[in-house]
Chain length 117, copies 2
């Protein structure tokens, strides 16, 4: 599996940096955001180092399917499905991407405002 030794999220996936991991399987890892913006704020990342959404093509469909499935399962476990939740990918610096390892934000547990930032 490709990894980048300088990448924070690669280090979390490989248990070399602390995080509250809620799910890990052969493809994805999910953990709590260290700077939460809602009562529930989790990140779902591929175990493999992929820089971001702009690097994704159709061939990563199965990985995306797994990421969304895990996000849905964690939303159920967190008890936030009745009122709803928001899934966000930031692509690039001005959109707010600070770590260049693909990650899906899952936010919920409070009403979400519009616009989304």
């Amino acid at each position: 599996m490709s990894r980048d030794p300088s990448c924070l999220f690669c280090r979390i996936v490989h248990k070399e940096h602390p995080a509250q991991i809620l799910h890990q399987d052969d493809q994805v890892t999910a953990f709590r955001d260290s700077n939460p913006q809602a009562p529930t704020h989790l990140l779902v990342v591929p175990n493999q180092h992929i820089r971001g959404v702009a690097e994704l093509g159709e061939e990563q469909g199965p990985l995306l399917g797994r990421m969304i499935q895990v996000a849905n399962e964690l939303a159920r476990r967190e008890g936030i499905t009745t009122h709803g939740y928001r899934l966000v990918f930031n692509v690039g610096r001005e959109a707010g991407q600070s770590i260049y390892h693909l990650h899906l934000h899952l936010l919920g547990g409070r009403p979400m405002r519009w616009p989304p930032g």
Copy 2:
């Protein structure tokens, strides 16, 4: 293909309701949001009626891959890739989902704030 005759986005997909369609293929349709929240604000939807993210499982991975690929292509066509863009799924009413036909928001052309709503 499953469709709901009362669904606005099904009607847009089938050209029964006006929208500025930017892309359409055998799986997905993309058009401009009628209430834009950024200089570029597009929606990417499956042609098939799927209520939302909560109804997606791993088997919809290929569809998700196509949706992300189309979003990336449209971001390039809109000239917003240098500064970045944000992709958002709202799941449920309190997260801001107003149309119960799966749709991915693509926003860019201005800096995006944090939190994402």
